[in-house]
């Protein structure tokens, strides 16, 4: 029982990170019908930006203030980078077929990975710990660390913030309208280009927050860290129903837990823990074959 709860907590921690990344996929897909392959790399960029601020501005000093500034700084820079990616790579190809956009996104992903390998080398960097990490004993053998509490809290705050932006603000209304029908939104006088740019900024900021948080939890950051995490977060978005914000959160948590349970309990049913990375893809294929709309997605009949 104790191990089960412990696994659950660990799974939810990593799941919250996936959820933060998955939100960006789902937002962009909702509006542009584009799988933004470079999104996982924006998460990596966020982690590196946080690293730069933490090391060069604060000299790796731990304090709550420093942590907040690192988090917000990384989110802001990533938001700008996200908008730049949209402006210079995706907007020029938007008028072409969806495959062209998809390939451009792949190219962008490679570009960011190689660029950061060039700048920072492929050797992992150790992200300084910005908040004193303690373990609290909940009951029995179950412990939860400060970092885990922090990840839960910040993830919840950001998700509620996103929910507020989407449902209570004017730009959120414009986003919903644009995702419903881009051309009609344009006819109604919505500056769809701005809405799309804003969506990219929002998604990138959330991914960067995920990057900084994961770096507090597993402090090794490297240029290819976004590859697997990005793919898994994408699976999370598909699992929850791509284009659906709550679905992305649910999907992220489920993928995180599935992964942790395979590592923790897989050997009882003959699945070695090395299959950790395969779990997400197996889930993906099952979802696509059984319920392509995802758990919370509305089942839209495809028009012919």
């Amino acid at each position: 029982m104790d191990t089960f709860v412990q696994q659950l907590i660990n799974g939810l921690t990593i799941g919250s990170i996936y959820a933060l990344i998955a939100l960006g996929y789902t937002l962009v897909y909702g509006i542009l019908k584009l799988i933004n392959f470079a999104h996982g790399d924006v998460y990596m960029v966020g982690a590196y930006m946080g690293f730069l601020i933490a090391v060069y501005v604060f000299g790796s000093q731990a304090s709550i203030f420093n942590f907040v500034v690192v988090l917000l700084g990384a989110m802001a820079i990533a938001a700008i980078i996200g908008m730049a990616i949209e402006r210079f790579a995706y907007r020029p190809v938007r008028k072409f077929s969806r495959m062209t956009t998809l390939i451009t996104a792949m190219g962008m992903s490679l570009f960011l990975e190689y660029l950061f390998t060039f700048i920072f080398s492929g050797v992992p960097k150790t992200f300084p710990l910005l908040i004193q990490n303690d373990n609290y004993n909940l009951f029995g053998e179950v412990t939860i660390s400060t970092t885990q509490i922090l990840i839960f809290m910040i993830a919840i705050i950001l998700m509620l913030g996103l929910e507020w932006i989407i449902h209570k603000t004017k730009i959120g209304k414009a986003m919903r309208a644009t995702s419903h029908n881009l051309n009609s939104a344009k006819l109604m006088g919505i500056n769809t280009d701005f809405v799309i740019a804003f969506t990219f900024a929002l998604g990138s900021a959330l991914a960067a927050a995920g990057g900084v948080l994961v770096a507090q939890y597993q402090p090794k950051i490297f240029p290819l860290m976004g590859l697997m995490a990005g793919l898994k977060a994408f699976v999370a978005a598909v699992l929850g129903g791509i284009g659906n914000v709550m679905g992305a959160v649910l999907g992220g948590l489920l993928i995180g837990m599935a992964e942790t349970f395979v590592v923790g309990y897989g050997h009882y049913v003959g699945i070695p823990s090395t299959y950790r990375d395969a779990v997400a893809f197996a889930i993906l294929i099952l979802v696509l074959l059984i319920r392509p709309a995802g758990l919370l997605g509305s089942n839209v009949q495809e028009k012919v």
Binding site: P92, A278, I285
Partner: protein, 378 residues
Amino acid sequence: MNNTWIKSLIGGVIMFGLLYVVSLMMSKAGLFGFGIDDYSSRLLHFIIINIILATSLNLINGYTGQFSIGHAGFMAIGAYASAYFTVTYGTAIETAISGETGGLLSTSIVLLIAVAIGALAAAIAGLIVGIPSLRLKGDYLAIATLGFAEIIRIVILNIDAVGGATGYQVPGYANFLWIGFFAVATVVIIHNIVRSDMGRALISIREDELAAEAMGVNTTRYKVISFVISSAFAGVAGVLFAHYNKFLSTNDFQFIKSFEVIIMIVIGGMGSMTGAILGAIIVTLLPELLRQLPDITVPGLGVVKFADLRLVIFALILILTMIFRPQGLFGNREFGLSWIMRPRTAPEGTEAVGGVEGVPIAEDIKAKHLASEEDEKK
């Protein structure tokens, strides 16, 4: 005995002669001192293997219009299945044939069996993956194939009999002549498929699946067949890679490899045979050529090794190709004798509309049709 038959026979003989001459160049001393060094020779081998990969992926992506990004997975299956065969039974078969190991005849026979096994294994995998995933369309299909490829890789990584994470030693039975032969065979076979009835059916699926279905084309069947053939040739490429490289590691088959093959056909032009070949050459050569870039001393930053930027430049080229020439270098045209001798005056009915842009009427109508279709989907 008709004319085409003689033509293909002559073509085959010329091709074989060319391959033989080039194969003599594979060592520095070969072909009266005109040989190339080991590095260039290695590069040439990889270019040819990549041509097999690109042309085979082109069948499903370019001609059938089903976007698959899992090619590396099938390549891995071909590579590992055949490598397991060669390592386990190769010596026994060789001694049975010629009483010794390492002879040209016996290694060639083992290689041929290995190719058959690799192609078959990859084809079966293609069938298993293709039947469920080809029900999906567009980016969902892309993601499903990517997922399958990653699962294949992770499963192989966990099989200790083929080395697992430590890698797998394979005897190097694939020489230039065999690799070249299979590349030519792949190009010829896929070229003929595309020009056959089946090819027409595949292209009709690419152009409009619903209309194809209405015209009586069994779209599901053709999509699966095309996917299986494509996978089988990816398997062949895997076999040749395994027996040339002499070492297999699952890292060679990560999804970056699938990306690479996609980039080849995208740069060359999806749905163009010659485009895929050119793309394979460019994508293999370009990063190597960019290695020659000089080091430049930037004040304040120290020495910048531009050669280290080669992959960044490579990615940039891909993005710029998409922005400025999304149809690739060749579009879906072919480069060849018939292109050089094409009529220089435009045939009637293709006069340009739309001002300076000069879009032929038919394409203009098609573009409008596509645009309105996109709108409806949204």
